[in-house]
Every structure is written in structure tokens, then in C-alpha cells.
Amino acid sequence: MSSDMTVTATGSGPRSSTAATPTGHETILNIENVCKTFFTTRRTVHALDRVSLDVRRGEFISLVGVSGCGKTTLLRILDGLDDCDSGTITLDGVKLDGVSHDMSYVFQDINLLPWRNVLDNVALGLEVRGVPKAERRARAMEALELVDLASVAKVPPYTLSGGMQQRVGVARALAIRPKVLLMDEPFGQLDNFTREALQVEVANLWEKLGTTIVFVTHDVDEAIFLSDRIGLFQPGPGRLTEVLDVDLPRPRTSYDVRAHHRAIGLRALITEHLRGAKAPTG
């Protein structure tokens, strides 16, 4: 699956994408009017209010917003970990109901199972899909090689550093060859240096595999570095208010993110947009 990436024509600034996809962009994931409300003993939270989005095949799209604005909730609903109160989600034309076998999720807490070694952790998804043992091991090793961790296949996961553990988490998600990879602030728990290294790794993986990636983060620079498009979330109630194109050529460097004129413009636009957001209300 090759990535559907084109170098866009120069414009005066970042462009806004509409839900109607221009030619050349095929929609793989259609999110339509998703709503979700949470009840706790203290208050009722309107996490998502009629969120709609078309995710294009092969693109890297980030969802950005302050904490508590619903982006993680949306991601979880996409994967089927939570239910939405109303709205539909369609993957490749098939309406989703519960956990989908064609999507996988990378958690912020990583959550590697401590009673299995690294290889068995990565192979778990394949076990479920009835893949025979030998093939399971081969594919799991393949996934580990993608993240450059084939050498630690047999060790217990808790002996690894945070960054390595998350790479295993990514391998685990990729082993089942998902159509869409969902990543929920995967580097949030890691230090800056590890985070930057892993951002590069994820960017390279994406180039190599061409998997569609939906990436949640509150780090604007991270989003600019990695994505084709950035969806902006506002809280209170959670809404997707804007989707911006990232018109930076690839491969990108951290210098580009900081100094390229388009990046600067984009960041200013995003910051202004987000700053205009009200504080999350009940």
C-alpha cells in the first residue's frame, strides 16, 4: 500500500480541508456525527458533540487539543473500546460495531503483559486470529524488526526502558497488519529525547508501511512533524472544529518544524485557534 502523498502547490498558508474529499484522496474511515456523554457521581461530561471526519487512506492525521477535549474519547470509540451514544463509523464501507479486527491501538500506558515475554506480547493478537504457531513467531519477529527490537524478543517486558516498551507496543499493534493504526499520546510518558527519537521512528515506519495512522497528541510540534493533516479539537463540549493541511515536504526534520515558514504559520494558526477555546465546562 503506497502512501497517497503529494507535494501540494505553494499557497499563502495552510489550507483548511473540508469533509468533502478532493480528488485523489480516498476515504478509509468515515466518522459521522459521533456523540458521547459520560456520567460520573459529580457531573455529566459531554465528551463529544457531533464529531465528523473523513480519514483518508494512507494518511497520517493528528488530533490535537488541550487535555480533556475528547480526542482520546474519539479514538477509543473508533477502536470499539467505548461505545458512542449516537453516530456511525464506517471502515472501508463496513459499519463498525465494537472492536474492529482491522484497527489496532497503541496505548499511552503501553500496558505490556508482564507475564509474557516481548515476543509473546507481540504475538498475542495473532494468537487470537488463529495464526499457527510457527507463522505467529515469524510475523511477530517481523514486527519487532520493524521497530528494531528483534534482539530482545525473549526478555520480560518490564526489563525494558519506557521507550523500548512503547516500541514493543507499536510492534504489537502492527503485527496484526491493521488497516488503521490508532495512537493515543503514545510518547506522553517518555522523556523528551526518547520522544523525539520515537517520532522519527514512527514517521519512518509510516513511510515504509503506508498504514493509515490516527494520532492523538497535545503536542503541536509533534503533530506538525508527523502529520499530513491536523484536526483541532475544542472542549466543552468536545468538538472537531477545524482540519488543517500540513504543507511541509517530507522527510521532515525538527528544524523544519521549528523554522520552516509554513510550520511557523501553521503553529500560529493552531495556537490562536486553540487559545480561543473556552476552558472545559461540564
Binding site: 459520560f38 456520567f39 460520573t40 457521581t41
Partner: protein, 317 residues
């Protein structure tokens, strides 16, 4: 609604002392205490799923559980009565026999006196055990050298089945109340020492710097940082002490001059008066449940935030 029982926490102090001797030991002490701690406050064992959904739905589920429980008890009583059809009542008796027997014991029998005596000995024993246990635990936690010195001893004492000291109590204190209270105290002191000590260590690790930063004096630190911080652990220890103390209460009643509920059940059992025996056993259960309830009430008054935190932990996503 089931929750895990508090651990005796003693086997981990052993681990701590073994480690102190330089032998590599697993950190099971901390694990077990965390497990105990997390579970001892009885967050009602609700599945996380029970905490989401509109408030009305949640209450409905809680009601469901309560109703199921009540129905189960009623059904149990019914089944119990039905056993009379094929079983000799000498084995487990029947509700229709136990109820009047209970009445007799209460009204004209020794039950109220025995109940009261056992209750008082229990409360007395656990009270003294608390003072001594918390005291030693605090000292061990605050004075490092004392900690090093006493840890293996405490571990060993905790591992020893203190029940075996029953005859010793008789020898030292005679055949009456003093011996029984002393016996309960001996049994109940260990969980309090171990858990209090663990609590102080936990506070030492996390909150102690707070006190120093604000320039608190030694005693101020104890009052404002250590005591509140250690209280949850102390209550865990108290809960365990109640459990083991109750065993000592019954045993003491049986062996050191037949008195209290312990003596009563022995006598009734010897006479094979099963109905009265079952009545006495149920009374003991009620006594024990009452003591645990009282402890929970005290706990809720002293620091309501613990239960809220555990429940809160389940709510937050």
C-alpha cells in the same frame, strides 16, 4: 459482595528482615501490603463497568446486588429448613429449632452475659494491643537503628503462631480475665506493629520531605505528617487484629476457665445441643460483624477521604 481479606502481613516483615540480613529477598512485603491496603477498605467490589452509566442505572445495579443477596439469604434459610426432611437435626439443626433456642439463651440463658464478657475482653485486648503495637511501629519507623534492630525480631514474632502461647498466659496470669485479655493482646499486637511500621515507612518515603521543608519540629512532624499518613495503614492493621483477636477471644474463653462465648459453645457442643450451639455460633458471627462494622464507622469518621479515593480511582479514566 466479596472483598479480599486483609493479610496477616507478617510473612512480609520476615522478608524485610531477611533482606536486612543481606540475603536478597523479593519485595513481596510491599506487594502484599499494597494488595491488602487496596482491598481492605472494601470498595464494594464493584466492577469498573458498574461505575459508568447514568446514576440511575448504577443505583439500579447496586439494588440488584442487594436484592440478590437478600433473596440468597432467604433461600438459604429455606434450604436449611428443608434439610430436616432427610438429615438428623443433630448435625446442623433447623431454623425452626434454632430460633427458639436462641430466644431461650437470650432470655433465660447465659448468652447476654457471655456475649458481653467476650466483647469486653476483646475490646480490652485489642485496645492495649493497639497502644503497644502502634507505639512500637511508630518508633521503629522513626528511629532507624531501632528499626534495624527490631525488624527480625518482629518478623519472627509475627511468624510465630501466638495461639501456642495460650498455656503460657495461664501460667503467668492465672486462670481468669487477665490471662484472657493478655492472650488477646499478645495475638493482636503483631499485625499492628507490622502495619504501622509499614505505614511509617511509606510516609517516610513520600511525605517526609514536606515536613522538613516547612521547618517542622520533630513532634510537629509526627502530628501533622506521620500520624495522618500512617492512619490508613493502622486501620488495616486494626482490622487484621480484630480478626485474629476474635480467634483468641474464643480460644481464651474455651481454655482459660470456660467463660464467654468460647466456653458456651464448648459446653453446648459437649452436650450435643446442636440448636443452641448453632444459635451461639450465629451470635458470635453477629458480634464479629458488629466489631468490624464499628471499625469501619470509626474509619469513616477519621478519614473519609480514603474510601472516596478508592472509589474515585475507579471512576476516573
Amino acid at each position: 459482595m466479596t472483598t479480599p481479606q486483609g493479610s496477616t502481613a507478617g510473612t512480609d516483615a520476615f522478608g524485610a528482615s531477611v533482606a536486612a540480613l543481606g540475603i536478597p529477598g523479593l519485595d513481596e512485603g510491599k506487594d502484599q501490603l499494597e494488595t491488602t491496603f487496596a482491598n481492605a477498605f472494601e470498595t464494594k467490589g464493584l466492577l469498573t463497568a458498574d461505575m459508568t452509566g447514568p446514576a440511575g442505572l448504577r443505583r439500579a445495579r447496586q439494588h440488584q446486588t442487594a436484592i440478590a443477596g437478600i433473596l440468597a439469604i432467604l433461600a438459604g434459610i429455606g434450604i436449611w429448613q428443608a434439610t430436616a426432611l432427610f438429615m438428623n437435626p443433630i448435625f446442623i439443626s433447623t431454623p425452626s429449632l434454632v430460633a427458639p433456642a436462641l430466644w431461650d439463651l437470650l432470655v433465660s440463658g447465659p448468652l447476654p452475659a457471655d456475649f458481653l464478657r467476650s466483647l469486653l475482653e476483646m475490646v480490652g485486648g485489642v485496645f492495649f494491643a493497639t497502644i503497644v503495637g502502634v507505639g512500637i511501629g511508630l518508633l521503629m519507623g522513626r528511629i532507624r537503628i531501632l528499626e534495624r534492630a527490631l525488624e527480625p525480631l518482629v518478623a519472627f514474632g509475627n511468624a510465630t503462631p501466638s495461639i501456642a502461647l495460650l498455656p503460657v498466659m495461664e501460667v503467668w496470669f492465672g486462670f481468669g480475665e487477665t490471662a484472657r485479655v493478655a492472650f488477646i493482646m499478645t495475638i493482636a499486637v503483631w499485625p499492628l506493629i507490622v502495619n504501622t511500621h509499614a505505614g511509617v515507612r511509606a510516609v517516610r518515603g513520600r511525605l517526609a520531605d514536606v515536613g522538613t521543608t516547612f521547618g517542622m519540629s520533630h513532634w510537629q512532624q509526627i502530628r501533622h505528617v506521620y500520624l495522618p499518613g500512617t492512619l490508613p495503614y493502622i486501620f488495616v492493621g486494626a482490622r487484621i487484629s480484630l480478626a485474629v483477636g476474635a480467634v483468641g477471644m474464643i480460644l481464651g474463653g474455651q481454655e482459660i476457665g470456660g467463660s464467654g462465648l468460647g466456653g458456651l459453645v464448648t459446653v453446648l457442643g459437649a452436650r450435643s445441643e446442636t440448636a443452641s450451639l448453632v444459635a451461639a455460633i450465629l451470635t458470635t458471627t453477629v458480634l464479629a460483624l458488629f466489631l468490624f462494622w464499628a471499625l469501619r464507622q470509626l474509619q469513616a469518621r477519621v478519614f473519609p477521604w480514603i474510601a472516596a479515593t478508592s472509589a474515585g480511582r475507579r471512576e476516573s479514566r
